[in-house]
């Protein structure tokens, strides 16, 4: 064919032309295109921080302070070796080998369970009780009366026999894995972003229905989607059991004329029409709309409270999302009936009937409002079924208010509590131009000089979680019992995974720094450095290549530099020096050590920190036999003070 012929020749023809005429032109165009796709610029970050007047080292520390849980002792040098641009690109890939982390996580089996496995192995206590009663192990009447101790014994023996475990263990493993990942993952940005997006799409263990599905929520819904398109993340959260339960959408039922009529007819034709109709009427009264998710998805997940929606939009959106519910995960709690219904229809017929079954998500057409709706001026035909909700979420995900809201939130997390408008505008534009691509929005941010502004350096206040993790990282600690750190993080004011409101923790320094919590930050520093946190081992001497500092002054200077690199600590050192160079310091410290008595530990409410008499003996022996012991105490105190000092509260 002639057409074919000319087609075949075209490339050669084009090539010739290109070589002679268009090459410079194309080069120019591609430079223009690539400079707008900053991601392709291999030195974009370097240019941005040079423009802002930072040295390579300052920039490296800032990058680590923003995109990791704090630098470890050698991190800065390693980062400089790799190069900032390349390091950031690697972090966006999140494919670095994580053998160390994997080894540390190996003992935590439950964090890999599916929702179904979790429901099977960690049932709620009332469910266990019912099972035990059914199996005749526990007498129904003995539950409330009689010997509580005996009852508990029977109860736990029954659980053991059935291979069931208490829910607290699930949460313990889950919290431990977060601490280990934050401390040891090489793919730090992935963990920081997982924290960010979890908090953005907050769910809470305080919600009884949602709680047990939260580990899988973080693992399968949040973590794999932290770098991708915002829409994908939004839809994944909308369809997750954790979110469906937490914001009640699982229970929201729409007015469905056809279905009501069919059910009424069925009742009328049943064997006992009077009873059946009564039951039907009662059921109708208890069925209907729940606005909770529809409101929060607009206010908190996408548009923002000033994003331009009305109460009517909320109600209509709730109607669009009716029928979005959870696929029955266990037989318990009405699950058995649902499974029976679905089995009757048969899995092969679900799609034909308008159901959508996707993992733990189920769209139930009989619960869906089949009237037309209008949300934000977009019309949704009542016949749309599942697709109505998917379309609504897609509209929300790409809305200009969403782009602005998400960009502001990211900038607040990664730049400062009050990020400059100019960078929010750039990020918003990238969001809108690239279909909500989170990686590109982040790239725009780090490639902008505003990100590197001197005003932003050290401006973010560490949350209690960030403080604890940055401290164990800075000291290169061996965290064997991560849950011990959790009790400190709570005391400092952040009960992670238990924040009740859907806003998530506020991202403002003012929220974290308040009177009571501040003292506990200092107490944390002292406890960590003096090895009083069980299962968290540190080796202060090793941090300084096993050189013992000559004096307290030297200790302060040396360890100040290790823990807070590139910070101007001269004021801190001047301030602490008179106290630390007190000629009687060593005497005082060793006397304090000698004076340790079990009763003195009583001032402490933390049982786990109390010294037994045996331990006290050991301490006393150490101080007399080992002359460097007082020195170690001094060093621990210096390091504790540095961690509790104002500078270390910032990043």
């Amino acid at each position: 064919m002639a057409g074919d012929e000319s087609y075949r020749h075209k490339p050669i023809y084009m090539k010739t032309i290109l070589r002679y005429f268009y090459v410079p032109f194309f080069l120019l165009i591609s430079i223009l295109i690539f400079s707008s796709f900053i991601k392709k610029d291999k030195n974009g970050i370097k240019k941005a921080y040079k423009k802002a007047g930072l040295t390579d080292r300052q920039a490296a520390i800032h990058l680590l302070n923003r995109f990791t849980y704090g630098p470890k002792p050698n991190d800065i040098d390693e980062l400089l070796k790799i190069g900032l641009d390349k390091w950031f690109a690697q972090q966006l890939q999140a494919k670095l080998n994580d053998k160390n982390l994997e080894n540390r996580l190996a003992g935590y089996d439950a964090i890999n369970f599916s929702n179904k496995q979790v429901a099977e192995v960690f049932p709620k206590p009332p469910q266990v009780r019912r099972m035990a009663i059914n199996d005749g192990v526990i007498n129904k009447d003995s539950v409330n009366a009689g010997d509580k101790k005996e009852y508990r014994k029977l109860f736990s023996a029954y659980m053991k026999k059935k291979g069931l475990r208490p829910q607290q263990e699930l949460y313990r493993q889950f919290i431990s894995q977060k601490i280990l990942r934050a401390t040891y993952s090489e793919n730090q940005l992935q963990e920081v972003l997982t924290d960010f997006w979890f908090n953005h799409f907050n769910v809470s263990i305080t919600n009884n229905n949602s709680a047990m599905f939260i580990p899988a929520y973080e693992r399968d819904v949040i973590r794999p989607n932290v770098y991708g398109k915002f829409e994908k993340l939004l839809i994944a959260t909308a369809k997750s059991p954790a979110m469906l339960f937490y914001l009640d959408n699982f229970s929201s039922v729409g007015v469905n004329e056809a279905n009501i009529k069919a059910m009424e007819l069925k009742a009328r034709n049943s064997k006992n029409p009077k009873l059946a109709l009564e039951r039907f009427n009662k059921n109708q009264k208890n069925k209907g709309l729940n606005e909770n998710y529809a409101r929060e998805v607009m206010e908190l997940h996408t548009l923002g409270v000033d994003g331009g929606y009305t109460q009517d939009d909320v109600t209509q959106a709730a109607r669009v999302l009716t029928g979005w519910t959870v696929y029955p995960i266990s037989n318990y709690n009405g699950g058995a009936n649902m499974i029976k219904t679905l089995d009757k229809i048969g899995p092969e017929n679900l799609e034909k009937r308008g159901y959508v079954h996707d993992g733990d998500f189920l769209f139930t057409p009989s619960k869906h409002d089949t009237n037309d709706k209008v949300v934000l001026g977009n019309k949704f035909l009542g016949s749309g079924g599942y697709q109505e909700g998917a379309d609504l979420l897609s509209i929300l995900a790409h809305h200009p208010s969403t782009a602005k809201f998400i960009s502001t939130k990211l900038a607040t997390r990664f730049i400062s509590d009050n990020p400059p408008q100019s960078i929010i505008d750039k990020m918003t534009k990238t969001f809108l131009d690239n279909n909500g691509d989170i990686s590109l929005v982040l790239s725009t941010m780090v490639n902008s000089p505003e990100f590197w502004s001197k005003d932003a350096l050290g401006e973010k206040t560490k949350s209690p979680f960030e403080l604890a993790i940055s401290a164990v990282r800075a000291l290169d600690a061996d965290v064997q019992q991560p849950y011990q750190l959790y009790s400190w993080i709570i005391k400092m004011g952040q009960k992670i995974y238990y924040y009740q409101a859907p806003t998530g923790f506020p991202d403002k320094g003012q929220y974290w720094i308040n009177t009571g919590a501040l003292l506990n930050r200092m107490n944390f520093g002292l406890a960590l450095a003096s090895q009083k946190i069980k299962g968290v081992k540190i080796n202060l001497a090793a941090l300084n290549n096993n050189h013992e500092p000559e004096s307290s002054d030297a200790a302060l200077k040396t360890y100040g530099k290790i823990i807070l690199p590139e910070r101007d600590l001269s004021a801190t050192i001047d301030r602490l020096n008179p106290f630390l160079t007190d000629p009687n310091l060593f005497k005082k410290v060793s006397k304090a050590v000698d004076n340790v008595k079990p009763t003195m530990a009583m001032e402490d409410t933390e049982d786990e920190q109390m010294m037994t008499e045996k331990q006290v003996k050991k301490v006393q022996n150490n101080s007399t036999k080992n002359p460097s012991f007082a020195n170690n105490m001094m060093l621990a105190q210096v390091v504790g003070v540095i961690i509790g000092a104002p500078e270390f509260q910032k990043r």
């Binding site: 209907g288 406890a527 005082k588 509260q649």
Partner: protein, 422 residues
Amino acid sequence: MTSRRGFLKAGGLAVFGIGLGGLPTFVTQAAAQIKQPGLFKRRKTLVCIFQRGAMDGLMAVTPFTDKHLAAARPTLFMSAAKTGTGKSLIDLDGKFGLHPSMVSFESVFKDGRLGIVHGIGSPNSTRSHFDAQDYMESGTPFKKGTSSGWLNRAVGLLGHDAATPFQAVSLTSSLPRSFYGDNPSVAINNLQDFNIKMSGNAKGANMAAKSFEDLYDTTAQGLLKETGKDSFEAMNMLKKLDTKNYKPANNAQYPNSSLGNSLKQIAQLIKMDVGLEVAFAESGGWDTHFNQGTETGIFARNVNDLSESMIAFWADMGTLQDDVTVMTMTEFGRTVKQNGTGGTDHGRASCNFILGNDVFGGKVHGKMDELAKENLEDGRDLAVTTDFRSVFSEVADKHLGINKDGILFPDWDGGHIGMMKG
């Protein structure tokens, strides 16, 4: 701020003799202090409780004669009629009935110490928890930019400097929005935690405390510096207190709940005369979208905790009752109609409770029309008939003697509704 600091260093600390050394116990000092009214006069205390999540005012204090409400809430409506099974509402005045789980409120209401305002809310119709709380706590329902909270401004209007860091205390793990601002205020979650500790090494802890105090005193970080100062002053004052073995007066039984513990600690601070004038506590779990229950269930548990905590506090105050007023607040109410899942969605007006001897109690104040659809706001919610600011400002005026409404609630010139005596 500086004037307070000056006062503290020159007056407060010198008077109390609090420091790191082994001075006489604080309690003795404080007791001696009462005898010197010129220097430190016992002041009145306002205790505010924020019920976060929006309390269903129509279930707490139900207009039980309203047939529209009965119809809108087929499974949630409770009646005041004594029926054979289940508990009924406590009839207050033939029109309103108190939820049966708040039975401990009955006697203080009948004694005229507990007042209720129904139809209270914000003129801003937002149904966002976070905006509505923000507006209520800043006290400026149409301005997001207000940096201070209304209780912080109230502290500034008390007309005298703080004698101690405890003039305004929030029993929360972080500072509430109501307390933001330039006037001194502290957040304390647990009085027992208020110390620098090194287990088994009290001397070391003392030395560390000294170095921390110095470091925070000289830091250039404003927030850390101020908070640090407050922390150490408060810590030094609390040092000698036996917070662990506190015994409430009059056999008061505080519920072992977050609110109960907060009010218990507020009672301790009031009795120890640390100069507490504005106290703040929180109560959660009011966002009852799902199965809120009737005489039992989530809502019943919440109102039970609220009323039991407040009544325990009131009993514990004993002879100090004249000096104390307790006021509750919540960001908005809930839909008149129950939703499809046995709960209620975000609405508009709710009610609040004010307990004290200067309250015009025994009465449900405010105005509530019949709940016919045409009387509802947006055709769905209990209409706001009393601006929350008129109640807050009346309580601040009559109990604390603050009458500068222009500063307390800028942009507002409404009047009082006469729910306080005097």
